[in-house]
């Protein structure tokens, strides 16, 4: 905290160095190669403003955000519940664990063709893939969180006569919370990636990924780069907000970073 490099204004400035350098390099590269290969930042900015004005950028961003969060809200709670249940009740882990660990080896994009065949390559298929992406990190980390609770804390519960539900509520869940939140952070990132990926591959229902795919067909590099930049910025912002929330929830930890 006392080191100047850790102070917020300094930290933000330092964080901006690389993006600004990238922008400068980008402009120089665009000037020397021509707009067919690389649209210049100035052209991209112009296009971004145009897309903002006609509302299509906002529509895309909202569609993608809506899809990502709907998938997250379906997948992550199920993953947390499954992970905790498996962590508390070993037979369930024995029965379901191997299957789930096998299934998670398949990258989420790998499910898309199959899900598309079954449910049609539309909104439904996209949502299923996003939900699955959010499910696994939440499940794995919650499971580890509950399974790793220190025995000495469980013993304190025994001393004070805790029943099963009291043990879960007052010891297992709070002790697992750091890892549950780590899982949720990963779920968030995976859901975001899966959303863009599914949109590009299915092209269904609008969204930043759909726009990227259409821009590719139309060879509109400027639009493509606008959509990519917005994807990066939104993903970054969501993660920042979540980290803040996580720090608040884990304020009981010595240094919750």
């Amino acid at each position: 905290m006392t080191r100047p490099i850790a102070r917020p204004p300094v930290r933000i400035l330092l964080g901006l160095v690389a993006p600004v350098l990238l922008l400068l390099w980008w402009q120089a590269a665009a000037d020397s190669t021509g707009s067919a290969v690389l649209a210049a930042p100035s052209a991209v900015t112009r296009e971004a403003l145009a897309l903002l004005r006609d509302g299509s950028l906002l529509d895309d961003a909202l569609a993608t955000l809506g899809r990502a969060f709907t998938g997250l809200l379906i997948g992550a709670p199920l993953g947390i519940a499954a992970g905790i249940a498996m962590g508390i009740w070993r037979p369930l882990d024995r029965v379901l664990g191997p299957l789930l660990h096998g299934l998670r080896q398949v990258p989420m994009i790998g499910w898309l063709p199959l899900v598309g065949l079954w449910f049609g390559a539309g909104e439904g298929a996209e949502l299923i893939v996003v939900s699955l992406s959010a499910f696994f990190p939440a499940m794995l980390n919650s499971h580890a969180g509950v399974a790793q609770v220190e025995k000495r804390y469980i013993e304190v519960g025994r001393i004070y006569g805790f029943g099963t539900l009291q043990r879960i509520r007052f010891i297992l869940l709070p002790a697992a919370m750091p890892l549950v939140l780590t899982g949720l952070t990963q779920s968030l990132a995976f859901a975001w990636i899966a959303t863009i990926g599914a949109e590009i591959l299915t092209g269904a229902g609008g969204g930043l990924g759909v726009t990227i795919q259409l821009a590719q067909v139309q060879q509109r590099l400027d639009i493509m780069l606008v959509a990519i930049a917005v994807t990066a910025l939104l993903g970054f912002a969501i993660n920042q907000i979540f980290q803040r929330l996580r720090r608040r929830l884990l304020r009981w930890q010595p240094s919750s970073l």
């Binding site: 000495r152 804390y153 013993e155 304190v156 025994r158 001393i159 004070y160 006569g161 805790f162 029943g163 009291q166 007052f170 010891i171 709070p174 002790a175 919370m177 304020r251 009981w252 930890q253 010595p254």
Partner: protein
């Protein structure tokens, strides 16, 4: 009856028919299976603790003294022989018996206040009285003002006192202290020893404390049980015939300390490293 009975406990104990906090251990043996082999950890332990008495247990590490406390508190019910509190055989944990561990074991996700209050979860204390009782016990260990602190914000000595408050809040008949000061620096240790003495005199419950530190054992204990290792046995029980609160400079305490240390080191061939360690600790 206790030889030194300056406190009212001993006299009131004769009035009500029911005993409070009388521990009796008879013919206790305890084995562990280590590497596929049965190993005897405790052998033929016989000990009674009178209601309101403070008994210290000293011995080198590996003499089974912490195991003994785990049996008394009921975390381990796999033993031969008899361990009874007020006539009831101990087979599991109970709110009658509290324990303070060497690591404070406060839940890091709860404030000091929440930690102490959680101990009352399964008592029939009315909800509206809990707040007051918790505040009283936090005051008892001199931590008022730190109610909202999380354990990581407390110093080692403060956390250990908080753990004592949590252990006492259910008003156990018997409080077990498993090297509660072992992780503290010498100065803090003296301070918390005084606190424990004061609290014990106020609470009038029986206490059994396990420690490495002979001086600490003598300063607090009405009696000091000296144990030897491999397997853990009671070697000797020393009466400390001094009223509380005690003066650390008392010649009797120093004489008894020398005696006990001599007793412990006379078997030095069994486990020399531990005993040297013990001697250094108690001189600190």
């Amino acid at each position: 009856m206790s030889v030194n009975a300056p406190r009212p406990t001993s006299s009131t104990a004769s009035q009500p028919a029911q005993e409070r906090g009388a521990l009796s251990i008879a013919n206790l043996n305890k084995n562990f299976i280590i590497g596929g082999e049965q190993r005897r950890i405790l052998e033929d332990i016989n000990l009674t603790v009178r209601p309101g008495e403070f008994v210290s247990i000293v011995g080198a590490s590996g003499c089974g003294k912490s195991t003994l406390l785990r049996l008394i508190v009921g975390l381990d019910a796999d033993y031969q022989g008899d361990v009874r509190l007020d006539g009831q055989r101990i087979s599991t944990t109970s709110l009658d018996r509290g324990i303070v561990f060497q690591d404070h074991r406060l839940f890091p996700w709860m404030t000091l206040e929440q930690n102490v209050e959680l101990a009352l979860l399964n008592t029939d204390t009315p909800k509206e009285r809990r707040r007051q009782i918790v505040a009283d016990h936090i005051a008892l260990v001199n931590l008022s003002g730190f109610e909202k602190a999380y354990p990581h914000q407390l110093s080692g000595g403060m956390a250990q006192r908080a753990a004592i408050a949590r252990a006492l809040v259910t008003e156990p008949k018997l409080l077990l202290l498993d090297e509660p000061l072992g992780a503290l620096d010498a100065l803090t240790r003296v301070h918390v020893q005084n606190e424990i003495q004061r609290i014990w005199m106020a609470q009038q419950s029986s206490m059994v404390m396990v420690t490495h530190d002979v001086e600490e054992a003598l300063y607090l204990g009405d009696r000091v049980v000296v144990m030897s290792p491999n397997p853990g046995r009671i070697r000797r029980i020393v009466e400390v015939d001094l009223p509380h609160p005690r003066d650390r400079r008392s010649p009797l305490l120093h004489r008894l300390k020398d005696e006990i240390l001599a007793e412990l080191t006379s078997g030095a061939s069994e486990e020399p490293t531990n005993l040297v360690h013990l001697q250094q600790r108690s001189q600190a």
